[in-house]
C-alpha cells in the first residue's frame, strides 16, 4: 500500500525529536493566540516568518501548521467561556457553548469541543493523505491556461463563500493583484511601478503587507474602539468529563460535522469558517432525542458539530495548497510565502521533490492534534488565566515582535516603513468595511497568475478563446461564474447576509 508507506515515511519524519518539538511549539502558540483577544493566526504567522530563516523547511512548516489548527482550538475556548469567539470560525460555537457555560456545564462543552476536534483532525489527516496524490497527478496535466482558470476559480471561491460584500471583496482581490505587479517583470526584466526605489524592484514584501494590515492596522482598529467588558466563567470549570448522555448526544453530531467539514475544506475559500456555519445549520435541522435542550440554550450538539467541522475544514484546506500550490485562505497564502522563503516552489512537484516535507507535514498534523487535546483539556485552567491578560500589555508586545521581524527580513529598515504605511491602509480598509484577507490572496497569486496568463496567450498566439475552448479550463471558469451567479440570486443573497450578520 502506497498510502501506508507514505504515512510511515511521514511519521518517521514527524516523530523526530526536533519536529515533535516544533509541532508542540506551534500547537501551544496557536492555542495561546486563539485564546488571547485581538491576535489572530494571520498576524502571528506573519510575525514568525522572519524567524523561520533560521529553521529548516520541514520544522518551519510543521510549526506554522500547528499555529493554524491550534488557533481553532483556542478560539473555541474563548467562545465557550466568555462568548467572544477568538477566531471567526468559532462564532457559532459561542451560541450554544456560552449557554452551556452559563448553566455550569462549561467543562462538558470544552470537552465536547476538544474531543470532537481531535476526532475530526484525525479523519482530516487521513483524507489529506489519501486524496493528495491523485490530485497531484491531475495537476501535472494542467497547462498555463488551466492554471490561470484554476486561480480565477480559487480567488472567486475564496470571496464568494467567506466574505461580506461580494463586489468589494472582488475589488480587494484585484487591488491585491495590482500590488503584486509592483516588481520586476519576469519576462522582459523591466522594473514596474518602482518609482526608482531600488527596494521596490524586488516587489513589496508580503510580510510587510501582512504585518501592516493584519498586525498594525488591527491594533489601531482595536484601540480606537471602547474596551469591551468581559465576563469569565472561571469558577464553573470543574467537571471536565462529560456524562454518558452527553457522549451519546454528541457523537452523531461529531460524525456529521467531520464529514461536512472535510468536504467544504477542500473547496476554494472553504476552510474552517464556512464548515462551522454549515454544520450548525445541519445540526439545527437534524431531529434530536426527545427532552433535548433546545438550540441556542446550550445544546451539546451545537458545540460538537461545528467544532468538529471547523477542525476538519482547517485540515483539508491544506489539500489545495499542498497539491496545487494555490492557497484557499489567507493563512495558507502565508504558508505558500513561507515555502518560497525556504526556496521551495509550491505546486504539484512538492510531493515528489520534497517527500519528507510533504508527508512529514501531514503526519505532524495528527501529532499536533494529539498534543492539542493534551494541552487543552487538563491545562484548561492555565488558558483561563490568560484570558484575563489586558490588551494594554499585549499590543506593545505584538508591535515589538513585528518591528524586529520586519527589520531582520532584509536587515534594512525599508520594510519597517512599508509596514507602517500598510498599517494606515489597513485601518482605512477597516473603516471602509473592506475585508483585507482577499487582498493578501490576490497579492500572493498575482505574479503566478500573470505568468500563466501570458504564457497561455503566447501558446495560443494571442487567442483569448483558448481559455474557453480547452475543456478543463472552460469548466473551471464556468464553475467560478456559476458561484457568482448563485450567490447573486436574491433568495440566496439574503440568507448569506443573514449568516454573516452574526459575525462581530
Amino acid at each position: 500500500m502506497d498510502l501506508l508507506n507514505n504515512l510511515a515515511l511521514g511519521f518517521g519524519v514527524a516523530f523526530t525529536l526536533q519536529n515533535v518539538f516544533y509541532a508542540f511549539f506551534g500547537a501551544l502558540l496557536g492555542t495561546l493566540i486563539g485564546v488571547l483577544p485581538g491576535l489572530g493566526p494571520v498576524a502571528t504567522i506573519a510575525m514568525l516568518l522572519p524567524s523561520i530563516y533560521a529553521l529548516d523547511a520541514t520544522p518551519a512548516l510543521i510549526m506554522l501548521a500547528g499555529i493554524y489548527y491550534g488557533a481553532q482550538y483556542g478560539g473555541s475556548t474563548t467562545a465557550i467561556l466568555i462568548n467572544v469567539p477568538g477566531e471567526s470560525s468559532s462564532v457559532v460555537t459561542a451560541i450554544d457553548g456560552y449557554q452551556m457555560a452559563r448553566r455550569g456545564r462549561a467543562g462538558a462543552a470544552l470537552a465536547a469541543a476538544g474531543l470532537g476536534s481531535f476526532f475530526a483532525g484525525c479523519v482530516g489527516t487521513i483524507i489529506i493523505a489519501a486524496f493528495a496524490p491523485p490530485l497531484t497527478e491531475l495537476a501535472f496535466k494542467f497547462g498555463p491556461a488551466e492554471y490561470f482558470s484554476l486561480m480565477v476559480l480559487g480567488l472567486i471561491g475564496a470571496v464568494v463563500l467567506a466574505s461580506g460584500s461580494l463586489i468589494k471583496a472582488i475589488a480587494m482581490i484585484i487591488l491585491g493583484l495590482l500590488l503584486g505587479q509592483i516588481n520586476t517583470d519576469v519576462i522582459s526584466g523591466v522594473p514596474r511601478f518602482s518609482f526608482d526605489i531600488p527596494e521596490l524592484t524586488d516587489g513589496i514584501g508580503f510580510v510587510a503587507i501582512a504585518m501592516g494590515v493584519f498586525g498594525f492596522g488591527e491594533i489601531i482598529a482595536n484601540l480606537s474602539r471602547p474596551a469591551e467588558h468581559r465576563e469569565v466563567f472561571t469558577k464553573d470549570v470543574k467537571d471536565i468529563w462529560p456524562t454518558k448522555q452527553d457522549f451519546k448526544n454528541a457523537y452523531p453530531a461529531v460524525l456529521r460535522g467531520t464529514a461536512l467539514g472535510s468536504i467544504l475544506g477542500v473547496l476554494p475559500g472553504g476552510g474552517a469558517l464556512l464548515a462551522s456555519f454549515a454544520a450548525y445549520t445541519v445540526e439545527k435541522k437534524t431531529k434530536g432525542n426527545p427532552g433535548d435542550v433546545p438550540f441556542g440554550q446550550g445544546n451539546i450538539r451545537g458545540v460538537a458539530g461545528p467544532e468538529a467541522a471547523n477542525n476538519a475544514g482547517a485540515q483539508t484546506s491544506f489539500i489545495p495548497m499542498l497539491t496545487l500550490g494555490i492557497p484557499p485562505n489567507a493563512v495558507m497564502a502565508l504558508m505558500v510565502g513561507a515555502m518560497t522563503i525556504k526556496g521551495i516552489q509550491p505546486g504539484p512537484q512538492v510531493m515528489t521533490s520534497n517527500p519528507e516535507l510533504f508527508w512529514g507535514l501531514i503526519a505532524s498534523m495528527w501529532v499536533g492534534n494529539l498534543m492539542l487535546i493534551i494541552l487543552n483539556l487538563p491545562l484548561i485552567g492555565v488558558w483561563i488565566k490568560l484570558l484575563t491578560v489586558p490588551y494594554r500589555f499585549l499590543f506593545p508586545a505584538i508591535m515589538a515582535f513585528c518591528c524586529i521581524g520586519l527589520y531582520t527580513l532584509n536587515n534594512n529598515n525599508f520594510d519597517v516603513f512599508m509596514a507602517a504605511g500598510f498599517g494606515i491602509v489597513g485601518y482605512l480598509f477597516f473603516k471602509l468595511g473592506c475585508e483585507p484577507a482577499p487582498l493578501l490572496l490576490g497579492f500572493i497569486l498575482g505574479p503566478m497568475m500573470e505568468e500563466n496568463l501570458r504564457r497561455a496567450l503566447l501558446l495560443s498566439r494571442g487567442d483569448w478563446t483558448a481559455f474557453i475552448t480547452k475543456p478543463l479550463s472552460a469548466g473551471l471558469l464556468l464553475a467560478a461564474l456559476l458561484m457568482i451567479v448563485i450567490v447573486s440570486l436574491p433568495s440566496i443573497k439574503s440568507k448569506r447576509e443573514e449568516a454573516f450578520h452574526d459575525e462581530p
Binding site: A171, Q181, L223, I404, G433, R454
Partner: protein, 154 residues
Amino acid sequence: MKIKSQKDFWSGLMFVVTGLAFAAGATNYSFGTSARPGPGYFPFGLGVLLAVLGAVILFKALTIETEGGDRIGHIGWRPLCLIVAAVIGFGLLLPRLGLIISLPLLILVASLAGDEFKLKEVVINAIILTIGSWAVFIKGLNLVIPLWPSFLAN
C-alpha cells in the same frame, strides 16, 4: 445628490482612483500584443477592471438606500498617529541607537495610544520585552540586530 452609504462611497472612490493610477502607470511600459503580452499588459487590464468595479460600488452607494447611511464613524486619530509614529521611529532609530534604546521607546510611544496608561506598568513591560527580544532574536535565533548604539559599539 445624497450619499446613501458612506463606507461604499469612499471605498468605491478609493478603488476608482487606485485603478486609474495603476492603469495610467502601466502605459509607461510596453503593452505588447495579445500574442506577445508586454510588461504593461496585465497591470493595465487589472487597473481598468478595478476602476470599473469601483465605479459600480460608487453607483450603488449613491442609489441604494442603507440603514443609517452606513456611516464611517469617528476616526481614532490618536491610536493611528501614535502607532504609526512608534513604528517609523523604531525604523529610524534602530540602526543608530540599537535595540537597547529603540525598543523601549517603541513600547512607550505605542502604550500612549491605549486607553489606560500607567507609567510603572509600561516601564516593566518595556524591560521584560527588551530582555525577551534580546534573548529570542539575538541570542536564540542569532539574527543580526544592532544591540548597542553605534557610538558605543566601537
